[in-house]
């Protein structure tokens, strides 16, 4: 039985029944990775013996009730997993062995998941194509000469290429949704604070959020069930009651109000993306939803706001990498020089660029004009969303304005940043959003549509996304 083309729910049920052992699932997964990953390069650290050992431990377990029992899950290389190498795609962390499990890893283990390995990413999650990885490029499984998107490119590619059933990524300005769109999988960024970031290597702490990739909306909902929840070790963690995120899947969305953002029209969209957007709006209407126009007047300011705030936070977060306690260390004549040499050699160009932008915008004399100004505009953007959500239940917009681009084709950083124009505004407001496959362009590259929910309304967001997925199912179903 071919396990890897199945959904999370199917694999867990097969593994639970004992029809196929977790060890056999592990062997199939390893074979798939050995066969495909020399071309795709989704994984950056993987230890096959450890995967087999974990599978045997799962087979020996009496309690097989975990929602992810026996399900092969890949995790992004910025999440700590005890006794494995965690590098966040950076040379400065090469050789770093995690001394503890991130909360999400602990939760995956508790849910019975078979954690497969670490996936490639843009260094410290800074990028939109995974080309900023210090190690190698990941290829889009649909067309290998194209990027998989980023920064969680490896996690999206692993799911698309059936090298894992589901995966975890992290999203600061679009790093789950954009690669999901480019690879043709489903990617969910939960509400800021919904999933604990304890053990996630920090990039921009007021924005970072962990979320799942899956083949279907339901897969991401089941994954969210496994990883969500309050955690006192992350002080931004939101205190919520336990919810079942699959509860509303399949329930009618008749009468739900869905907002179309007027200002999205001011941006140039690839023709096929525009058509796919219109098709998805029609699909929502067919499912009984009511479409309304809403306005996010400050939408166009989101990108500059983000590129002030995120590098500012990054410049502070990345100060911890100094060569003293772990990872790369390049000795200098004194401590100061050791720091400088380690950081100059250990960080890649994009990371240095962002550290320097952040250092500049936070420096005396510029703080008010840049960081403070951006934080105020961020408030206005958040207010715009709040106002829109007083009228509608969810928003729809394309995840990206174009489909995937060719490896090496974008070298200008500003042009690269533009890939995130439709995902960043939502991140600034801390709202949950999901990207689902909605079609393909003429070249056969996937297109993704983004649905945005109210704060902490993942259940309803997933309900709506599921309805759209069913409507579009015919041509995009797995």
């Amino acid at each position: 039985m071919d396990i890897l083309n199945k959904t999370v729910e199917e694999v867990a049920s097969i593994a639970r029944s004992g029809e196929v052992s977790v060890k056999e699932i592990a062997e199939q997964t390893i074979n798939a990775i050995k066969q495909k990953d020399s071309k795709i390069k989704a994984f950056v650290h993987i230890d096959f013996d450890a995967v087999i050992k974990r599978s045997e431990e799962l087979d020996a377990k009496k309690d097989k009730s975990g929602v992810l029992f026996g399900v092969p899950v890949a995790i992004k290389d910025n999440m700590n997993m005890k006794d494995t190498e965690t590098t966040a795609g950076s040379k400065i962390l090469s050789g770093y062995i995690s001394p503890y499990d991130a909360t999400v890893v602990e939760k995956l283990k508790n849910a019975g998941a078979l954690i497969v390995g670490k996936t490639n990413m843009d260094e410290f999650a800074m990028g939109s194509s995974t080309e900023n990885s210090a190690f190698f490029n990941t290829h889009n499984p649909v067309k290998p000469e194209y990027v998989p998107g980023g920064s969680s490119g490896g996690s999206a590619a692993a799911v698309k290429a059936n090298e894992a059933i589901a995966s975890l990524g992290s999203d600061t300005g679009g790093s789950i949704r954009e690669p999901a769109a480019f690879c043709g999988v489903t990617g969910l960024k939960p509400t800021y604070g919904r999933v604990s970031r304890y053990g996630l290597i920090a990039f921009a702490s007021s924005l970072d959020q962990i979320g799942p990739f899956g083949k279907t909306v339901k897969d991401t909902a089941i994954m969210l069930n496994a990883i969500a929840g309050f955690d006192p070790r992350d002080e931004t963690s939101v205190q919520t009651e336990k919810e079942d995120f699959t509860e509303l899947l399949g329930k009618d969305i008749k009468g739900k109000k869905i907002g179309v953002i007027k200002e999205v029209r001011d941006f140039e969209l690839q023709e096929e993306v525009k058509n796919s957007f219109n098709d998805t709006v029609k699909a929502l209407q067919n499912a009984g939803a009511i479409i309304e126009e809403v306005s996010i007047p400050h939408l166009k300011y989101a990108l500059p706001v983000y590129y002030i705030i995120a590098p500012a936070e990054a410049s502070a977060n990345l100060a911890r990498f100094d060569g003293v306690r772990y990872g790369l260390k390049v000795e200098g004549k004194d401590l100061r020089e050791t720091y400088e040499k380690t950081r100059t050699e250990g960080f890649g160009t994009e990371v240095k660029r962002r550290i320097l932008i952040g250092t500049f915008t936070l420096s005396a004399g510029y703080y008010d004009a840049y960081y403070l100004k951006a934080s105020k505009v961020r408030r206005l953007i958040s207010n715009d969303f709040e106002k829109a959500f007083s009228k509608v239940d969810a928003l729809i917009l394309p995840t990206t304005s174009t489909t995937a681009f060719k490896l090496g084709s974008i070298t200008n950083p500003l042009q690269m940043y533009m890939n995130d124009i439709f995902t960043i505004p939502i991140s600034l407001a801390g709202l949950p959003a999901i990207s689902i496959p909605s079609g393909k362009d003429k070249k056969g590259l996937p297109i993704g549509m983004q649905l945005v929910g109210k704060w902490l309304a993942e259940k309803e967001l997933l309900q709506i996304a599921y309805a759209v997925e069913q409507e579009l199912g015919g041509k995009n179903g797995i």
Binding site: K82, D83, Y96, I97, S98, P99, Y100, T191, Y192, G193, S206, P232, E235, T236, S237, V238, Q239, Y301, P304, V305, Y307, I308, S315, A319, D322, V324, R325, Y326, L335, R336, T338, Y339, E340, K341, R343, T344, T349, K352, R353, I355, L356, I357, T359, F360, S363, Y370, L372, K373, A374, S375, K376, V377, R378, R379, L380, P413, L414, L428, G430, W455
Partner: protein, 91 residues
């Protein structure tokens, strides 16, 4: 922009070639930020953390901390408990 000044603040020391490359990008990026001047932000409070994050207190109880054995996998500990760095106090 005086790149050297910010390199020093960020504990970086770029090569001339890298400086040249990055300095043009930084100028373009910082110019791009100018568009924010259009936005009237009088009487607007800055937003740092989006709603939801509420500070909470935990009980003052002993908790597990990192295991020394696993820290040693990354760096040798001096006297069993310390990280060793070069001298930072002058004579």
């Amino acid at each position: 922009m005086d790149l050297k000044k910010y390199e020093k603040l960020a504990a970086l020391n770029l090569s001339e070639e890298e400086e040249k490359r990055i300095s043009k990008d930084l100028t373009d990026i910082i110019n791009y930020f100018e568009i924010l001047k259009e936005v009237n932000t009088d009487n607007v409070e800055p937003l740092v953390y989006t709603k939801g994050a509420k500070l909470f207190m935990r009980k003052d109880e002993k908790q597990k901390s990192l295991n020394k054995e696993s820290l040693k996998k990354n760096r040798e500990l001096f006297n069993g408990n310390f990280y060793k760095v070069k001298k930072i106090i002058g004579d």
